[in-house]
């Protein structure tokens, strides 16, 4: 008879493999903040820009996910880019134009757009 703890370990392993099968281990991961506050600041549009880029195939090898509010209210919407072998980057006050620029300049060409980085 397996205990609840055994069960949860199994469920966790399954969950991790499901996350990986969604492409978690892509070389780049992009997170867009999507709490009420971020959405009010315009993160839905930003998310749409990234979603569209992934759907159209212009962004490949990217794992896109939403996340909750991290607490940087005055810098919202925020977008995080985690890339293999590079410093992870957090951009603040991202709008549609900035999102497009992040796709073109950062995700496709590896350029960190310094003036928008939160540090």
């Amino acid at each position: 008879m397996s205990t609840p703890l055994d069960l949860i370990r199994k469920k966790r392993a399954e969950a991790v493999s499901r996350i990986i099968s969604k492409g978690y281990l892509s070389t780049k991961r992009v997170y867009v903040g999507m709490a009420t506050c971020e959405i009010a600041a315009g993160s839905k549009e930003v998310m749409d820009v990234f979603r569209e880029a992934v759907a159209k195939g212009s962004l490949t090898d990217v794992y896109l996910s939403q996340k909750g509010c991290v607490g940087r209210c005055n810098l919202e919407p925020t977008v995080e880019v985690v890339e293999e072998g590079c410093n992870p980057i957090k951009y603040g006050k991202v709008d549609k134009e900035r999102a497009l620029a992040i796709i073109e300049r950062h995700l496709k060409n590896g350029e960190v757009i310094k003036e928008w980085v939160i540090d």
Binding site: P4, I19, Q66, G68, P88
Partner: protein, 598 residues
């Protein structure tokens, strides 16, 4: 196709760690991986400053989130041989305080903002996809429930919570473990567990963010609470104006059901528990537990005298355990990391951390979580980045409409239930509003009193009538019609309301007024005696003047809605103070900064 890798090794690449040879570590790591033929299966990544510079250089191995500190080049070989090849964690290098909260350090970049924080309740907020149960599971989600169901009796769970020293985060700070014990010891075939998510303080958004960022932690906490007190039904009371939080909570509950964390025989045990959501219409008084219970029962949301407390006679007359969102969010960590560890964080009387919604005149407004004992100064000036536009700090308001305003001399007050109370404010649910010299303290007190006055349910006279009279006096003062003796009247009335009101709303409603009278009495006196508002906020006490640098562009004259400005082109204009309604339109229209408020 994405490459599959078995380990991700992260090396901190912050300035301090670089100084401590993190670049050397990276080089050795790559050499070692090459040597062991692992470079295809292990990925190396760099992180920005993790805010743990004392223990640098830092190396983190995922999955498992093992944190190694003070790593040297020779340690790298050991980590590779032991951890990456054999799968054994190198115990001697693991940072001892590797607790759940350390997950938070994966938030990178702005180490100044996050470095002083410790995230327990918000540990997953901003890290995981809140609508994805898999994300939560991957971070030890629901392990606390499994732990409780496998290894602990309800009594042991309560003892663990008592040991942690956790106190209610909704405002009053009642010891959580004791509350659980009181509910558990009641004999009843039916008991309820309630999550109070009726967050109503102006400027507060801690509970909303917690539920929107990590709804499962609340669900998990409630399941554990249900198990501990012997309840099978849980209810989340949340206000209807939080649609996204409701949506995410609904999704969390339904996926938890799907995975077998809610419903009958949770995780194969003989414990059954389920949660439903009840929407509140957004009345502030419904945050009071007995009013909240009435609201769920379908009655008008009004408090009733206690005792009996809800733990004895609560929802539908049954023993009911009611805790706030943040309290619930702490529970899984207490179970997984132990009450002793939790009690090691914080001060003698207040354990753990507290979430604050930092707002007002501060550079970094935001949602923060700090260990108890952090000073107000650290929060406002280190995490918050100080006051914008070079203005001077005047006061900080904690505890929302039930709290008080603390001036500069209280900045070194450590955050805990007792010391805030001693300073004349309260912890409250976590609103923190920073006030600078451009704000009028009488006006602020009036603002908060307006709020509580309109939210008063009207059941008891002191609160219903008393707050109304206080507001009348305050309005008079801000309109320049204050009279000698008004301050004393406010003081007397306030103390009376405090003592005689039925529930927490009335008992705390005078706090903003009483604390500003105590700490900023001179501003009240100026308003009354000199008809002067030093922050130039109170409309009836200020006037707009045109300065000598007016070029006579006539823009303000055209903008004035009551034709109070006179003057001809290229000559200095004049405002007729008798006609002026002090709307400020001229000042915002002027492009030459030639109009001032005095």
């Amino acid at each position: 196709m994405p490459r599959r890798k078995e380990f991700i090794v992260t090396i901190c690449d912050g300035p301090t760690c670089i100084h401590k040879n993190s670049k050397g570590l990276e080089r050795v790591l790559r050499e070692q991986l090459e040597k062991h033929n692992l470079s295809q299966t292990v990925r190396v990544s760099l992180s920005g400053c993790l805010g743990m510079c004392k223990q640098g250089p830092m190396v983190i191995v995922n999955p498992g989130y093992t944190m190694y500190g003070n790593v040297t080049e020779s340690d790298i070989a050991e980590i590779v041989e032991q951890h990456l090849v054999k799968g054994k964690v190198v115990g001697r290098l693991v940072i001892q305080e590797d607790h759940l909260y350390n997950r938070f350090f994966r938030i990178f970049g702005d180490a100044k903002f996050f470095g002083r924080q410790m995230r327990i309740a918000l540990r997953n907020c901003g890290l995981i996809d809140p609508e994805c149960l898999d994300d939560y599971l991957a971070l030890r989600g629901y392990e606390a429930v499994a732990q409780v169901l496998t290894n602990m009796t309800p009594r042991q769970v309560i003892d663990e919570v008592k040991k942690s020293g956790l106190r209610g985060r909704g405002g009053a700070g009642f010891p959580t473990g004791l509350k659980w014990e009181l509910t558990a010891t009641q004999e009843s075939t039916e008991k309820y567990v309630i999550c109070n998510a009726d967050e109503g303080d102006p400027g507060a958004f801690m509970d909303r963010s917690t539920i929107e960022g990590d709804p499962h932690t609340v669900v998990e906490g409630m399941i554990i609470g249900g198990y501990a007190v012997g309840a099978t039904r849980g209810i989340v009371y949340i206000r209807a104006e939080y649609p996204l939080a409701i949506k995410r909570l609904e999704k969390a509950i339904s996926s938890a059901r799907e995975y077998g964390f809610l419903g009958n025989n949770i995780l194969g045990s003989d414990f059954s528990f389920d949660i439903e959501i009840r929407l509140g219409a957004g009345a502030f008084v419904c945050g009071e537990e007995t009013a909240l219970i009435h609201s769920i029962e379908g009655e008008r949301g009004m408090p009733r005298p206690r005792p009996p407390y809800p733990s004895v006679k609560g929802l539908f007359g049954k023993p009911t355990l009611i805790n706030n969102v943040e309290t619930w969010a702490n529970i899984p960590v207490i179970i997984l990391d132990g009450g002793d560890w939790f009690a090691s964080v914080g001060t003698a009387t207040s354990k753990g951390t507290k979430v604050f919604a930092l707002a007002g005149k501060v550079v970094n407004t935001g949602l923060i979580e700090v260990p108890m004992g952090t000073t107000l100064h650290e929060i406002i000036f280190d995490i918050g980045g100080g006051i914008p536009n070079g203005r001077k700090f005047k006061a900080v308001q904690t505890g929302g409409p039930s709290g008080g305003c603390l001036p500069e001399q209280y900045l070194d007050t450590p955050i805990d239930y007792q010391s805030l109370m001693a300073a004349g404010s309260i912890m409250g649910s976590g609103g923190m509003i920073v006030i600078d010299e451009d704000s009028c303290m009488v006006d602020i007190a009036k603002y908060f009193l307006e709020f509580t006055q309109s939210e008063s349910c009207g059941k008891c006279t002191p609160c219903r009538e008393g707050t109304k009279r206080m507001l009348e006096i305050l309005t008079r003062i801000t309109e320049g019609r204050g009279a000698e003796g008004d301050i004393e009247k406010l003081d007397r009335l306030g103390n009376m309301i405090r003592k005689a009101s039925l529930c927490g709303l009335g008992q705390s409603a005078p706090n903003p007024v009483l604390s500003t009278i105590k700490n900023f009495r001179e501003e009240y006196e100026e308003h009354i005696k000199q008809r002067k508002c030093r922050a130039v906020v109170c409309k009836n006490l200020i006037s707009y003047r045109i300065k000598d640098n007016c070029v006579g562009c006539t823009a303000c004259k055209k903008a004035c809605p009551v034709a109070a400005i006179d003057g001809t082109a290229k000559n200095k204009h004049i405002i007729d103070q008798n006609k002026c309604v002090r709307c400020g339109l001229c000042m915002s229209t002027c492009r030459f900064d030639a109009i001032e408020k005095v």
